[in-house]
Symmetry: none
Subunit: 100 residues, 4 copies
DNA sequence: CGGCCGTCTAAGGATC
DNA sequence: GATCCTTAGACGGCCG
């Protein structure tokens, strides 16, 4: 696929040659369809996982946990400890600057 | 604060007892850990899928497709059914607004 | 306006009398239009204010401030101190339960 | 940490000096305070507008209108222009995808 | 590296 | 009154 078959700078003057031309109704169209369908499939899976996560939070909630706090913990576990500290330091500086 | 696990509206059945109390270092802690780890695992999977999708777009791009256009197509394929419904809703609203 | 002129439980049997009937093409329609336009106008203003806020944050950023931290401060100033403490306490409990 | 005001990518000109340094209790603090107060003021106004909108809906309701339907109408009036554009975009995309 | 886009969170409204 | 859902705002990642 050396030719930029669908990029906007391609063949807009009507000089679509047979190679490209065949492609539109043939292999390239199939390729395009394949790409789109694979992406859509993966997005489906992503969505399913989001549902699973939601279910777990529902379960957590009915077990008496505070979902918001759990989210916070997960967020913190993702961050570098130094990041957390840095933010807090800055917050502190601003608060002092404001005399709070 | 005998049952730190629970939100303020806990005690539905009043059965917050020594079992639960012991929980901070025991079952409830395990439960909490389980919840967090399962969510983190699922988020990992989600992230992996996002990577796969990205790979497909990279492939598409090197095959000469316009990635932005493909994204738009996918978005529109997702939107269309809702648009149809929306039109019907619109019609309905106006009919009701006119008291027909 | 004694009549529930547009509520769903009104006059669905076609017995729209002349009073109501006139209203649809007259005063009630005008009233409806007025309501809609006033709301839309206020929403415009809201949107404008959102833009102004955004501008201030842009200014803050180019003055070297950390916008995210400023947001945090604003949020904290809005909250009851007891609320803040409560969240932090719960967070602490969970962290201890997890042995973090 | 001579210039707590600044984010880590500060020092664009290296002129972080005593002026700035004094700033925590002086100009920069004032600047920060100004930013925060202006934002808070604008948020107040936003909140007030939200209240006004709510009032209008209350009025509408007591005039016998169906508030939910009015909300929908407003939403749709907002959406329509974009939908028109969207259709044209769609047309364009397909034409491009087909290489026409 | 700044703007744009999509996702995710939090609040408000509708529903039962 | 509680829950669910929709919507607006915030946040982070991606692209140009």
């Amino acid at each position: 696929m050396l030719d930029g078959q669908f990029q906007e700078d391609s063949d807009e003057d009507g000089a679509v040659d047979t190679r490209t031309d065949a492609a539109v109704g043939g292999i390239a169209a199939d390729r395009l369809r394949s790409i789109i369908e694979r992406v859509e499939r993966l997005e489906e899976e992503r969505k399913a996982l989001a549902g699973d996560i939601k279910d777990i939070f529902t379960e957590a909630k009915s077990a008496g946990f505070d979902v918001k706090v759990i989210r916070q913990i997960i967020r913190l576990r993702k961050l570098e400890p130094s990041e957390v500290e840095e933010q807090e330091t800055l917050l502190d500086i601003y608060r002092r600057a404001l005399g709070i």
